[in-house]
């Protein structure tokens, strides 16, 4: 089986479809790389590319996409619901097949070093690639967002791992790192009240006393006139999607608000959904070896 790495870079443009297309282009038609998904969100004003492929061509594709984003996105006039600190906000690498976590970490370091040198961009290593424990969590690295980065980079504990110790004037700051598979899972509520989504997000997420591998925040969906609890499930094998959904459902009940649906953004490992099916069906003694396709991988 060949080595396969997944890369899910997030860029701070979700509205201008021409820019979106140019940023995604380096992942298309390149031998060894398969572009799986480009999601854009006008409310978040953000795009998420998902690609899988061999390490070397993937590295090339990422650098080219970063060049496009840095040339075309001006963070000084960027607005959107999602927290962000740079034109290329975050570049995670996820080992999929025949690649160890240390190999993924090494790949992330190479991309961080090359991008920093080429674009004069401050780059933080995060998650499994972090150079210190306080830099592992993306939310901690991104705290202050684009507008607060100039000040943040003056602190000794927030010197970037690569590149200059000052914010790129239009592209801000970027985080690059290796991590375990993450599922972006959002639960939509039948209300437009942002305070309710915020309150519920706080109860379900780890820092609020909720699920250990769940990050959550309230987001307003202007186009739908609804709010959602937007989550990153950072280890679905420990904190399951169905646990997050059901916790949100019972909290929402206190506000008299219904759960009206949910969504998975981007890719999801088969196991994360099958765990949910097994839970709701009440399957006894089920193993992944019973999944026909598991024998064809």
């Amino acid at each position: 089986m060949p080595k396969i790495i997944e890369c899910v870079p997030n860029f701070s443009e979700g509205r201008d479809q021409d820019v979106v297309k140019r940023i995604a282009a380096p992942f298309s038609g390149r031998p060894g790389v398969k572009l799986l998904d480009v999601q854009t969100d006008g409310d978040h004003n953000r795009m998420v590319v998902t690609a899988i492929g061999a390490p070397d061509p993937m590295k090339q594709a990422v650098i080219e996409a970063m060049a496009e984003a840095i040339a075309r996105i001006d963070m000084t006039c960027h607005q959107g619901q999602h927290p962000r600190m740079g034109a290329v906000d975050v570049v995670p690498f996820i080992p999929v097949q025949e690649i160890t976590m240390p190999e993924a970490v090494e790949l992330s370091r190479q991309v961080a070093a090359e991008a920093a040198a080429r674009f004069e961009l401050p780059v933080f290593l995060y998650e499994r690639s972090a150079s210190a424990p306080h830099r592992a969590n993306l939310a901690a690295v991104r705290k202050g967002q684009f507008e607060g980065m100039a000040e943040k980079l003056k602190a000794p504990q927030w010197q970037p791992d690569y590149g200059p110790a000052k914010v790129h004037p239009t592209a801000g700051v970027t985080a690059v790192g290796a991590r375990a598979p993450l599922v972006a899972f959002n639960v939509n509520l039948g209300t437009d009240r942002a305070d309710i989504a915020d309150a519920i997000a706080k109860t379900v997420r780890h820092i609020g006393g909720g699920l250990r591998y769940c990050k959550a925040m309230g987001v307003t969906l202007q186009e739908r006139n609804q709010v959602q609890v937007s989550m990153n499930m950072t280890d679905f094998s420990q904190s399951a999607l169905y646990q997050a959904l059901e916790l949100i459902r019972i909290e929402a009940r206190r506000f008299g608000v219904p759960v009206v649906g949910s969504e998975v953004v981007g890719l999801v490992p088969m196991q994360a959904l099958i765990d949910c099916a097994a839970h709701y069906l009440g399957l006894e003694n089920f193993t992944m070896a019973q999944v026909l396709e598991s024998h064809l991988l």
Copy 2:
């Protein structure tokens, strides 16, 4: 991608582990064939082998397993919960990859012809291989079970497709055919009353006015002191597992009986479970292309 056929032969022995092992052996250690699962059930007194592989070695493995079963199982003293008509009760072939349904039908005909000649065994073609519409349904072919086959084979409309028009004295009759993927899905009830499982089975199955692609019957699980609704979901893309479960749950409620769990017997296509996850999570706009592994097959 190579041609892959799945074969899920059912044999009428679920208690004697030595016989079970001998029947399953031809599917092990054979180049081109992968034995995925051997399930035995003492109450059903039945074993279900699941194997995938290339058509030619699969054909050889099936014929050898049939030889073992016919040599070792005596249907004149067989007892079990599950309807059965032969030592080798039924041999379904399911196209998995790069094989069309007509190719699977042709393979089933070859196996039926060879087994009939070699074992002097009456063989019916069923499902997509059936030689007449009234023979497509396995339950119709098997009606009367082993004990009734001598009389049944006298009727002109029940002449076997291959082999002698009389029952094999100890091995009975066998059905061979090609079919779409089937999911064996059982729902366990918190009662030992067989009449309740029977009554619920009748409401959920197609012939009783229930789901179109659902066959169901009540089964007693002596070892657990419970009953179950034992189902074959013959097209999960049309009649979903969660529909069957929820229909059983609401019928059981009328008897004051809880659903205590469920099980999938043998293999299940990824899609059948992901459909359930998507339903219970309320996923909006979800596609199978979001499943990471779908891009690695």
